[in-house]
Symmetry: C2
Subunit: 345 residues, 2 copies
DNA sequence: CTTTGTGAAGCAAACGGTTCCATAAGGAGG
DNA sequence: CCTCCTTATGGAACCGTTTGCTTCACAAAG
């Protein structure tokens, strides 16, 4: 059925090896043969069999994305979409295919990774949002498979990773509120086992401190990257004796929850509570009022991750141990939700 | 390096074929050998090489998703994320991997599909949002590769597809507004080359007609699946001499645009204009006011597409020509944006 | 005791490429 | 005119599996 390299060879009156060489642009092939073979390939509609190619070359020209289980559970999925978009775009430019995989739990995830990497179905992996210690990372490292982490791990030092400077980002976000005149600023954090939560919290603390502002322990609440957390945090804050006039939320979804709550209670944003959050997902400018957010360059994050991974696949000698952490710049997008100071009490 | 079937065979003192048969659960292998081999596989950490397997079996256990170019351009991406989520979940349950691919234009797309299918990297494809006539569909059909279309094509009859009954959905949406007492109802459509636009428009027309309501030509405007279209449509409608009191929008993103516009002009929703749209993306309930929307079961759409595709890969004899169109049920989610009739003029 | 049937395992040929090594032709240098 | 490169190509082994056909041993049947 399918036309193979041998069929082409036969029709062209050359050997299979010659055809193969034409295909790969081997230098010692006469122009004449090359042309002839190419014409015949075109005529017969030849397409190389990737499986056969991979078998001998031990290379697949594809990478995989390992989604953490929360992705299955909807999570803040715009984030992932953007990331995937960046990855797929870059990979495709480098001639790589992208395979999406996920597992219901860490064990399943590990199985999937092992099957894909050891089974030589992909050449490398991109991991999203790692936990503190991670069997998957462990596995990949021990077998020295190429991989890059989107996010940061404080446990593993020398692994490739692409991330933002979340401490600095939170510092900037908080400083913005301070510069608008706010002094009582709350913080809604994410799950403490995620490093991103801790980094952002740290940045908030630093900003407060460096401006000589007190931060009350009750102004910091923990939650998830979900609306509910924002809703809950909001009602907690608003009942405080001297409640904050502004807050920094670890994720835009949290802000939406806060917004919904404030709306129900007829509070005004930013008059009664100013808000800044992170990620700048497309919704941020759609809410009313639009939310100020730190744009962390999600697409860029994915794009870079793919680039770094593919580079490391193609020349694995990059063990300088130097530039293995790539930091994507962030920027603050100021919108209505933080456009006013605490003023009118 | 990697441990192959031969290594296992040698260590177990059997032939490679025996190991292979143990792996595939061949009936004529003694329990004893089977156990022995399995232990050794475990010991040596054997993982089958998928490439070799695929080469001989001519099967890859993976499928691909072909994203239309607009996906690269952000589009209403929550839609795609949900769809992908459904596809990946189902595929993974069936033991299939999913490959994401896209091209900048139709030609590139075709190249990608050809490379993947003819190159035997995947066993089948899922196409999203097809244009009216499509070189990709043409190609897949001519080569009788398994594929399923998410959406509908009126040109190709016998292809597998998963879709909603968009005519009925629009009928329901419109009827809901009518039942709230609205009589002047506008419609914001999508690009006319997308079948989904036309179907929804048709449903709207039918509903109006079946209630004996007049539909003014100027109440129907064309746009894209984007906010801007909504914004523009809004300002057009609101300047009409006897403007509509309600409107149906072809996509939630359009509603957001409308909402933003109305907000700027200090109009109230639903008092001044009631709104219903389609897709029920997660944002719909986050806007203020929350938007009534037809939930078309995006996740389910993806899940089913994957299921249907894999089924057709595994037994391609399903040429009954009967059940090749799968319709996913929709349901109307009523929210604040359509909770009041035209009443107070 | 020889023939036939059956279950368990091995041999070797594929699958569609790549690549090392060998070879033939032709031209340059001695 | 013979030797030695160089260049363009062919031959064959190999990548890691699967699978049809054999083979072998042994028990049942004639």
């Amino acid at each position: 059925m399918t036309v193979t390299i041998k069929d082409v060879a036969k029709k062209a009156g050359v050997s299979p090896s010659t055809v193969s060489r034409v295909l790969s642009g081997h230098p010692r092939i006469s122009l004449e043969t090359s042309r002839k073979v190419k014409v015949i390939m075109e005529e017969m509609g030849y397409t190389p069999n990737m499986m056969a190619k991979s078998l001998v070359s031990k290379t697949t020209n594809s990478i995989c994305i390992i989604l953490p289980k929360p992705a299955e559970e909807l999570f803040s999925n715009l984030f992932f979409m953007e990331l995937i978009r960046g990855i797929v775009t870059q990979a495709s430019r480098s001639g790589y295919d992208v395979l999406i995989s996920s597992g219901a739990n860490e064990k399943e995830e590990l199985e999937a990774v092992s099957r894909l990497l050891k089974g030589r179905r992909v050449d490398g992996a991109i991991l999203l949002y790692s936990r503190k210690d991670d069997a998957v990372i462990e596995f990949l490292e021990n077998n020295s498979y190429p991989f890059v982490l989107v996010g940061r791990s404080d446990r593993y030092e020398n692994i490739l990773s692409v991330d933002n400077d979340n401490v600095m980002a939170a510092f900037d976000a908080t400083n913005h509120l301070i510069s608008m005149g706010h002094e009582r600023i709350g913080f809604v954090s994410g799950p403490p086992e995620l490093i991103v939560s801790r980094d952002r919290l740290e940045g908030y603390r630093k900003a407060m401190q460096s401006s000589g502002l007190q931060t009350q322990p009750e102004w910091i609440v923990e939650g998830e990257f979900l609306q509910e957390s924002g809703y809950r945090a909001m009602s907690f804050f608003m009942n405080l004796p001297n409640r904050p006039t502004a807050l920094v939320a670890v994720d835009d979804m949290v802000s939406f929850g806060v917004l919904r709550g404030l709306n129900e209670l007829k509070y005004k944003v930013p008059e009664d509570l100013a808000i800044v959050s992170f990620n700048n997902i497309p919704l941020s400018e759609l809410s009313s009022p639009p939310i100020s957010s730190i744009d962390i360059g999600i697409y860029h994050l994915g794009y870079t991750a793919s680039q770094v991974l593919i580079q490391s696949i193609q020349k694995p000698d990059n063990n300088t141990g130097y530039t293995n952490r790539f930091v994507i710049p962030h920027r603050l997008i100021i919108r209505e939700s933080s456009m006013r100071g605490p003023g009118k009490e």
